[in-house]
Symmetry: C2
Subunit: 482 residues, 2 copies
């Protein structure tokens, strides 16, 4: 059965069940994504005020078989938030549902609506003397519903886990419009299937998250940051192991940075202060958060000295103030912006087993050598085995010079990742841009189970069609192939 | 469509696809559960050697519409492992698939087959210089597949999470016999729906877990244990808060113990050494695991002294040796055995928001007063908001004297839990014993989604029928009611 567009007739249906002001004129900002790879379309835009509005919208869409695209902060990098083809959808933006509903410091829980901006959730936790550790470059605009729908990662996963590990309960509207009241703030609840984790990471294809009970953590008594020049990715791993032996779970982040990224920064953001005069080939950013009684700067100095003695580290900077900590983090956090300004041929958000990182970097370099003159900026969350392995034009050339090579480069990188037991989407999700990759590399039994679950929960196929799973051709209203 | 029994005709079908020795005579030990509440039945018993055997068994069962009951260590407390009614099932015990397949210390990952005993997994992790933190009273016989299928909890959830939080990947056989090869050892993998967490906690109703990639953790440099007498549950919570402010994530366990439990221990296990001459009304068992440079015993002494000064604590023991640590833990770990010997009227594995524990204990006591002469032993994982709230006969009376009251007591306790935003199954699961409770207290939208998922993945309804979700009457081969 084909889906129907969100047209004026459907708008009339909605006006009959909604208060004025929920339906809004479609604005262009809802139709683009950060890297400009996909152009969205929308028949209608709705800005619900509460879960009942969302329920009414979805129920009406299900009855009329109108596609729905949930919209959070719009920061996703795989096109999950824009629908470029098929009947024009109803876009539902959660931005008006941005309240921090309650904070329960004694339970280490905060309940936020889906439209709350991640940075605001972090701030509310801090005000309560707690830490909400999910942290990523887009935190100033990413919204909690979207970070959960995509199971966002970021820089503190090593210690605190992905978004799903930080969620205790959800309120959500399922594809038939039913409201799931699952906002429990319990640490243990074994009553039935894990619907929470099914919706987390489903990228809006199984329902719309409207609020979440989030885990808060103790604020570490002391924090410290260092940037250490390592002799190789292998040495970086040995340093991580050494740090873990001493500091256990005290390591909050362990980020690998390649000299190419520092050169891109120098080229595109020359005012940004860098810790080393000459960009080293490899360095790591280490962040500690330690309990009372331990001195993070001293612990980093010790680690630095011993790693120097063992030949793992060649140079380094241990931050002596909050300003210096911010400066080191600023280097790391601006690499994506520098990348964007250079313009990648192909970007890869991949993971492999942590111990396989050096081999992956070596084999990746060998593999890409055959594409001739390119630059590789490989950086990311070493402690999670997650690299942003991005391929750039040679100096003086541009992205468009490589148009013919893009898919070959991607195929080569993803084949290698898959061959090494890795994932072709570590933290960004599938969205629409990686649907074919999921079909190529996904386990057939899992894909079959996913399709069965999608058909069971969303029989009309209205929820974010074409994201994660390919849209059935009959939903497009065009005859399927012979 | 009715299910068919696992009879001799089906056995012939199986013999045609399996090597000799997989089918075994049914033994009584597969038909009972620890508390003796349900008596199982079985038509056939299979002991597969590998995942292909499991796949062949399930595929044949799906084709013949024969019910399958997966069997792990048999330690579950809610009857998920025994099927008392319906057509006689094929019981599949994973006990021969007990290998630790690989250990990857550098990745902090261990891959175990489903039949590996939890204690053996812990030991293999220790041998590799790592910690597998899942720890519970039945760890000497519980098997990894079962602990994952039930999302087991235990004493270290406060710090390390439930079983689901300790699993990175699964190999499983789905209800059509397809093998899902999902044994990835990645920290980040956002490629599609979270089938792993859907199978974890599904209690064998959506497939059979055959192997798991498990997270290992650093072994804390130093551990310490104390048992402190607190003036009330409120004081216990204040002590937890105080400990958290100082020691952050260093608190591995925080268990509440009521004097009733210590009295039961003295009565039923008089040789077990107890730390206090007179059982205090309330005490807590605190376990620390700290990084190098910190002294856990000293940290506990400081906490004890300051809590004494604040009036939260009245007395206490800080273990000065491993032997003393073991002794304190032995008190905690033998309470379930003492309870069993006394014989409970009704047992409740409940959770509420942590901050609501004192109110729950107060209101629970008031509520049960109307049932007259009873004894309440309330103990458990305070740091998780999870209590084992068990009701016993008065001294000199027995469980059978209260037969008429059992369900009323349970209803009263569970209504209170539900009213306080809690869960009527915190860590034991639903199994068959709590199906009616799930129907009563579960969110209707979630239940409806669960039924849709079950029907989609297991359309014949063969996987552990009657567990978690009620068996369709037509599957029993009897006409459904008017």
């Amino acid at each position: 059965m084909p889906l129907n567009p969100a047209d004026e007739i459907f708008a009339e249906t909605l006006r009959a069940v909604l208060l004025e002001g929920v339906l809004r004129p479609v604005e262009p900002r809802y139709l683009s994504e950060p890297r400009g790879r996909l152009a969205g379309q929308a028949g209608l835009l709705a800005l619900p005020r509460d879960v009942e509005d969302v329920s009414a919208l979805v129920r009406a869409a299900a009855e009329a078989r109108v596609p729905v695209v949930p919209y959070g902060g719009g920061t996703g990098l795989v096109g999950g938030q824009v629908m470029p083809d098929g009947p024009r959808p109803l876009v539902i933006s959660l931005e008006r549902m941005s309240a921090i509903r309650t904070v329960h410091p004694a339970d280490n829980v905060l309940v936020a609506e889906a439209g709350a901006v991640l940075a605001d959730v972090q701030a509310a936790a801090r005000t309560a003397g707690r830490l909400f550790p999910l942290s990523l470059a887009a935190e100033g605009s990413a919204r909690i519903g979207g970070t959960l729908a995509t199971n966002a990662g970021g820089v503190n996963v090593l210690r605190y886990g992905n978004a799903r590990d930080l969620c205790l309960g959800l309120e959500a509207v399922l594809p038939d419009g039913a409201i799931w009241h699952g906002l429990r703030r319990l640490r243990k609840d074994n009553t039935g299937y894990d619907l929470r984790n099914l919706l987390i990471g489903a990228e809006g294809t199984l329902g719309i998250i409207t609020a979440a009970a989030l885990k808060l953590c103790p604020v570490p008594a002391g924090q410290g940051t260092a940037m250490l020049v390592v002799s190789s990715p292998r040495a970086a791993l040995d340093l991580l192991e050494m740090a873990r032996d001493r500091l256990g779970e005290g390591i909050s982040a362990f980020e690998l940075i390649h000299g190419q990224g520092l050169e891109f920064l120098a080229e595109t953001l020359p005012d940004l202060r860098q810790p080393f005069d000459m960009p080293p080939e490899w360095c790591v950013l280490v962040e500690l958060g330690l309990a009372a009684g331990l001195d993070p700067a001293a612990a980093l100095e010790d680690l630095f000295a011993d790693a120097l003695a063992r030949g793992l580290v060649r140079d380094g900077v241990v931050a002596q103030s909050q300003a210096q900590r911010d400066e080191l983090w600023s280097v790391r956090e601006h690499i994506p912006e520098a990348n964007k300004r250079i313009g990648a041929v192909s970007s890869h958000d991949i993971s492999v087993p942590i111990s396989a990182i050096p081999e992956f970097i070596r084999r990746g370099g060998e593999l890409l050598a055959r594409f001739g003159d390119i630059r590789i900026n490989c950086f990311g969350h070493l402690g999670d085995g997650n690299l942003h392995y991005n391929v750039f034009p040679a100096a003086g050339r541009t992205r468009s010079d490589y148009d013919g090579l893009r898919w070959e480069v991607q195929r080569a990188v993803h084949d290698l990742v898959h061959d090494m037991g890795g994932s072709v989407s570590a933290e960004h999700g599938i969205g629409r841009i990686k649907v074919a990759e999921l079909e190529r590399y996904g386990d057939p039994a899992k894909l079959s189970a996913m399709r069965a679950i999608k058909a069971a929960l969303d029989p009309a196929g209205i929820m974010n069609p074409g994201a994660v799973l390919r849209m059935n051709q009959d939903r497009l209203g065009v005859p399927s192939g012979p």
